[in-house]
């Protein structure tokens, strides 16, 4: 067990190193230099050269990479050229918004998906099963950003039930009203994300439960005379739940990738929107930091899922 986890982590290290080199080189290859926008266009080119030299932008790439990594380990990701503040602070303030949204969506997804999966498996091959199958398949194959745009149009603009921009109302007082306002802002994107992201959990739970239904311990429980309701509640559901919990890691990585779209549509100030804005300003200290953070979060999400799965299912442990 521990061997599996240790080996998984050891494999991660070279991956992170390669990712960091790749990200760094890509950022270097981006057009324009970081000072283009921030200083007076009439400035002396010689002064600009001096500035570039002071910041080490003429050093060979491996030297620059090394400096960057050393700074990274000191928790210093550089300054954002666009916002003129440390990248760590900038991203920190945005990451909270993104993570709240992701967490809320994940919880809501499970709230929708677990009953659906159980119900479909209970009525396997009957009408409810087909309806749930059609529902998951329809929600799965429509591109999510289209749903977001139509959702914000219907519920945000036409009906006016939900706010369409921002993460908090500007007039909300601190304390409880501000928490309420934040929650109100993530409600629509969260519900849409949950309604249209159930497919994996539903299908996996359904096949788990159907397998469990035919297993020996369920037959034993039945022959002992345990009521059908209790068999599902205490025997099957508990056994099928852990593998499902493993999906949480994967689903968070999926949500992070989707955050680019969600946050653009809702103008929600999280990491995804920050990335889109930074790209247009060529703010590459922010870009490198964000790609790196997303990569590492992806890795951690997969690691989490793999660990849970290997605890639950001994077959997939690495020998």
């Amino acid at each position: 067990m521990w061997k599996t986890i240790l080996r998984r982590i050891l494999i991660m290290i070279p991956e992170v190193i390669i990712l960091s080199i790749l990200v760094f080189l890509l950022a270097k290859a981006m057009p324009g230099d970081p000072f283009t926008g921030s200083i007076n266009p009439k400035a002396d080119p010689a002064q600009l050269h001096h500035l570039m030299k002071m910041n080490g932008l003429y050093d060979p790439w491996y030297q620059q990479y090394w400096n960057w990594v050393v700074h990274l380990f000191h928790g210093n990701l550089g300054n954002s050229y666009q916002y003129q503040e440390p990248v760590t602070r900038l991203i920190g303030s945005r990451a909270v918004n993104t993570l709240w949204l992701a967490l809320f969506t994940t919880i809501l997804t499970y709230c929708f998906a677990l009953p659906m999966g159980m119900y479909a498996a209970k009525h396997e091959g009957k009408l409810p099963d087909s309806i749930i199958r059609i529902y998951t398949y329809v929600t799965y194959c429509i591109p999510f950003f289209v749903i977001l745009v139509i959702g914000v149009w219907i519920f945000g603009y036409v009906l006016g039930w939900f706010p369409t921009t921002g993460s908090i109302s500007s007039t909300a007082a601190s304390g409880l009203p501000s928490i309420g306002s934040r929650f109100y802002h993530i409600l629509l994107p969260g519900v849409l994300g949950a309604l249209f992201g159930t497919v994996n959990v539903v299908q996996y739970l359904r096949s788990e439960v159907i397998d469990a239904k035919r297993s020996d311990y369920v037959r034993t429980a039945r022959s002992k005379g345990v009521p059908e309701k209790d068999i599902y509640k205490h025997h099957i559901f508990r056994n099928s739940l852990l593998p499902i919990a493993a999906f949480a890691g994967y689903s968070i990585t999926g949500l992070l990738n989707g955050s680019l779209f969600t946050e653009t549509v809702f103008s929600y100030p999280g990491m995804g929107l920050l990335f889109i804005n930074s790209i247009s300003y060529r703010d590459y200290t922010v870009i490198t930091a964000l790609v790196l953070i997303y990569g590492i979060l992806n890795l951690l999400g997969t690691l989490l899922s793999d660990i849970i799965l290997s605890i639950v299912d001994p077959r997939i442990r690495i020998q």
């Binding site: 194959c141 680019l260 779209f261 990569g295 890795l299």
Partner: protein
């Protein structure tokens, strides 16, 4: 060859013909035939298939008659014309450009890129999965690490960064960039199937008789998993429509002067458009939904026909 065979056999030519006819009748029908009979038995699937084919043919042919640079010229007089006015059947956008024409050209571009992406990424993913699954051992281990690494990359972000780095990109380079990141799903599926397929007797027999690895992979294993390949390709085609349109929606797909279904939906980013001028973006959004639903419905039917126990058409 056949003559040679006949000379040595004791069976007469007439008998041989009769026997081979009987054998053909008893053999399982070819996968193309199975899929076709499945479509004939399922009327909605047939409708979806016809919608897709007619629609693709329509946009391909109609877009030949549309002069794209002329269409994209701004005409301030027709600013946001409502549908049916000023000679615009589906209205005009903020620049006075016809939405109907943009839909046709945009649909052609988006479908074209989706087809290109599907062909390239599926071919690569299939080869990757076959080789990784067949050789096992160190080769598989190495290829799996590359796969893990690719899975870790934040795809959408990497594509956006690459698109900003490459200066003069067009539909072809864009398709290639997408292809770098979208082969993993296919490769994983094919690998797991190849792993179990390589254990089977016919592969061992081919190995013993000295068939080359290349031949075993592409002439023995690949035909045996062809139904899986067909299913996966159809389903990933439906997903790939969302890839380009999504990136174009964010503003990092096709350039503004080349319409795509995504750039049309991006009209909705303007609060005026989304509230008052719904015709500038809603048709494109609905079109994407209909296209994706019908393509993946066709994919579902193909998947059903690959699984003998679920068929409607032929009783297996």
């Amino acid at each position: 060859m056949e003559e040679n065979l006949n000379r040595h056999s004791k069976i007469s030519a007439a008998d041989l013909e009769r026997l081979s006819k009987e054998a053909k009748g008893e053999a399982t029908p070819s996968s193309a035939k199975i899929i076709w009979s499945e479509f004939k038995a399922d009327k909605p699937a047939m409708a979806a298939l016809i919608i897709i084919i007619v629609f693709i043919l329509f946009v391909m042919i109609a877009s030949l008659f549309i002069n794209t640079p002329k269409m994209m010229e701004t005409d301030i007089m027709n600013y946001n014309s409502a549908p049916g006015t000023n000679g615009f059947l589906l209205g005009a956008d903020t620049g006075g450009r016809s939405i109907g024409q943009q839909l046709i050209v945009g649909a052609r571009n988006s479908i074209g890129i989706a087809i290109g992406l599907t062909v390239i990424s599926s071919t690569f993913g299939i080869c990757w999965g076959l080789i990784s699954g067949y050789f096992n051992g160190y080769i598989d281990w190495g290829m799996q690490r590359v796969y893990d690494f690719m899975m870790m990359l934040p795809m959408t972000m990497m594509i956006i960064v690459l698109v900003t780095i490459i200066k003069d990109y067009n539909a072809v380079t864009l398709t290639l960039i997408f292809s770098i990141f979208y082969w993993e799903g296919t490769s994983r599926l094919i690998r797991s199937r190849t792993l179990s397929e390589s254990e089977k007797d016919y592969v061992a027999a081919a190995k013993t008789s000295g068939t080359s690895n290349f031949k075993i992979i592409f002439k023995e294993i690949m035909p045996n998993i062809s139904s899986l390949i067909i299913v996966d390709t159809t389903l990933s085609f439906a997903e790939n429509i969302g890839v380009e349109t999504g990136l174009s929606y964010l503003g990092f797909g096709l350039p503004m002067q080349t319409p795509s279904l995504g750039t049309l939906i991006a009209n909705a980013n303007d609060p005026n458009n989304i509230t008052q001028y719904w015709w500038t973006w809603l048709p494109a959004a609905l079109l994407i939904i209909i296209l994706c639903l019908s393509i993946s419905y066709v994919g579902q039917v193909v998947r059903r026909s690959a699984d003998a126990s679920q068929r409607h058409g032929i009783d297996a």
